[in-house]
Point group: C2
Chain length 390, copies 2
């Protein structure tokens, strides 16, 4: 055994979350090592559609609303800050999130969505079809009513993760790629580091931000996180461009722009283990989403099709904070399900608070691992078995 | 201007057809040059599903039946012959073409298909669902009746074209790649060769086998051939394997095996000019075909998605033989539409007959360019506007 190095904090998992934690900690002068089983940002963060913005979700609030709001503010700060540090762009843009309906039967669903957001204090602009098409020319003629949250944004999650990882590294964070963590180094009543094969990385605090892999780091620290596979594609944008993240009130699927004019269309939900693959059923579904949500995309060129594994938890909320089974020196920051980019900066900010012994800036009592430790069957979030095709 | 070389025959277009003509002529000691605008076998032959076998088609017989029968025999000879010459395999295999129905309403359509084939003298085995699944375990439980033409085969059209092109070259055919023919060299009342920019290739006979591009070689020699775009994919085959080319009697789309266990699923039909692209509507369609025809493929891994441009003619028949507008020294061998591999060896054999002044071994009066020269609106084949999505 050899000790590779010792740090204040070792972060397991170099996705968007781990990289953001590393960056925020490094900025505060904390000594950080970031360890990834492969390359930085090549799992769920690579696959993400990159839609972000304040959003209320009755099943997941108050955390979700607070986290998506804080994350939105952080992205706008990071957008400039990361450019200053790296001269690279995370592709933040967009004029809002737009949800439309194309039939009278769907109006009630749209109204309900609007009410939920407004009750949470978020701005929502309600429009008829013509107003909506004026705002978003890519919308189909059959859209009869729409609701727009003008704060909705998109970003390039691949670029974001690579850039904030590079920025963390520039500020002193040590990055280990291609190093699967094979276990924790345990002391009496505490965690003291991570094992990488026969090597060890020692730390005051180990943060587990390894997404869908979070439950497999230590056999004693189980977590009911599962890899929820998603297939997604990018297509050449329409001639008129696309300005909003667009979806339908009563149907799944979305289209979201990229800064360069591409449009990302997603996504499937499949539970079949740690396997990434593009399938006939998958491309049928995302092809249908494109044609249905924005018919002007039906015959555009597909640029790429890819897939990734979302860290799905039973309640679609992340687990954030300590674990009584681990003792001191261990913190969870994993399980953001299908809304990783939307809420993850807030998780990273809270982790910084915990590491630096501040009161978390958002209440995380909803996110405690204890909710899974009573051995009762967990409440399964509605998304859990939807679209699961095998 | 410089004369690159002089040959008995210059063939324009190095797809499966041009390469087969080159091979058959070279075997007879004819001096041949094969000229392609790009790489050999990278257009329709690259995109082909590779289903071959004797088949009657009321709209296209007697040529189609005779050509598919002769082609089937030729493939079996070429399979061994080309291996002897090149030590490479064209991937010929399969246990038949199997068409099934899954509803009582579709039985009449299946019966009609069976009658057409049997009336033409072809063998067709009719089975109930259980017998069909015994023959082809990949079939879904909902298949209630099936018809199998046991002569149906598959091959790898990419491999076939590359191999027979290489064999032709080995037998002395000169192959020019990356040389777009920009016009014909005309003498008095005859064609004397082809132009490639400022260069010329001289020949006693010029054969136009340039597929969807055939109508653009010489402005005086128009041909109503259009690029019919097709999107197609290959997926990992089912655990039980696939033995037959499988389709449904009443729906479009097919699944056909490859020798290595992959399954090819196709295909769309789009008329939008000389553009190759994979689209949301396209992948939705071929994804649906896979799931519908062989549900066991729905969640298999997609290995590749590609597209190509079929040389679609108004009657879905090729044009074969001389052209009165050209005079001597010019022969058509283009326009095999969606059934190129199925009938193309017969076209090549007939072209050899014409070049060597034999009576064509199949009557080609149906295929004369004269059918398009009366300036009357042409009869459009039923496939022409089907699936055209823009």
């Amino acid at each position: 055994m050899s000790v590779l190095s010792a740090h204040d904090v070792v972060i397991i998992g170099g996705g968007a979350c781990g990289c953001t934690i590393a960056y925020l900690l490094a900025k505060q002068g904390v000594s950080v090592a970031l360890v990834d089983k492969g390359e930085i940002g090549r799992e769920a963060s690579w696959a993400s559609a990159g839609m972000v913005g304040p959003c209320a979700c009755q099943d997941r609030d108050p955390w979700f609303l607070a986290a998506t709001r804080l994350s939105w503010r952080m992205y706008h700060e990071l957008n400039d800050e990361l450019f200053d540090v790296t001269q690279r762009r995370i592709g933040l843009g967009g004029e809002g999130e737009l949800v439309y309906v194309d039939g009278e039967d769907d109006l009630a669903d749209l109204d309900k969505k609007v009410r939920v957001q407004r009750d949470a204090g978020l701005e929502v602009i309600v429009m008829d079809g013509d107003e909506a098409r004026e705002r978003e020319p890519a919308l189909p003629d059959r859209a009869i009513k729409a609701a727009c949250n003008p704060a909705g944004r998109f970003l390039d999650a691949r670029a974001y993760t690579a850039i904030i990882g590079a920025a963390a590294n520039q500020l002193g964070a040590v990055v280990y790629e291609g190093k699967p963590v094979t276990g924790l180094v345990r002391g009496r009543d505490r965690v003291m580091g991570v094992r990488i094969g026969t090597d060890e990385l020692h730390a005051q605090t180990v943060i587990n931000s390894s997404g869908a892999w979070a439950g497999g780091i230590d056999p004693a620290l189980t977590h009911p996180v599962e890899p929820m596979h998603g297939q997604i594609m990018s297509v050449q944008g329409p001639p008129c461009g696309l300005r909003h993240n667009v979806s339908q009130a009563t149907r799944w699927g979305y289209c979201t722009p990229r800064a360069d004019g591409r449009v990302v269309v997603g996504a499937t939900h499949e539970l079949w283990g740690f396997v990434k693959r593009i399938t006939p059923a998958g491309v049928e579904y995302i092809g249908e989403v494109a044609r249905r949500v924005l018919p002007c995309l039906a015959n555009q060129t597909i640029i790429d099709i890819w897939s990734g594994l979302r860290p799905q938890t039973p309640d679609a909320l992340p687990t954030v904070g300590p674990d009584p089974r681990a003792g001191d020196g261990y913190l969870w920051a994993a399980g953001h399900a299908s809304s990783g980019m939307t809420q993850m900066p807030a998780t990273a900010a809270v982790l910084c608070d915990l590491v630096t012994h501040q009161t978390p800036r958002i209440d995380i009592s909803q996110l405690a691992i204890e909710r899974y430790l009573n051995n009762e069957p967990v409440h399964e979030h509605q998304v859990f078995h939807r679209f699961v095709q095998i």
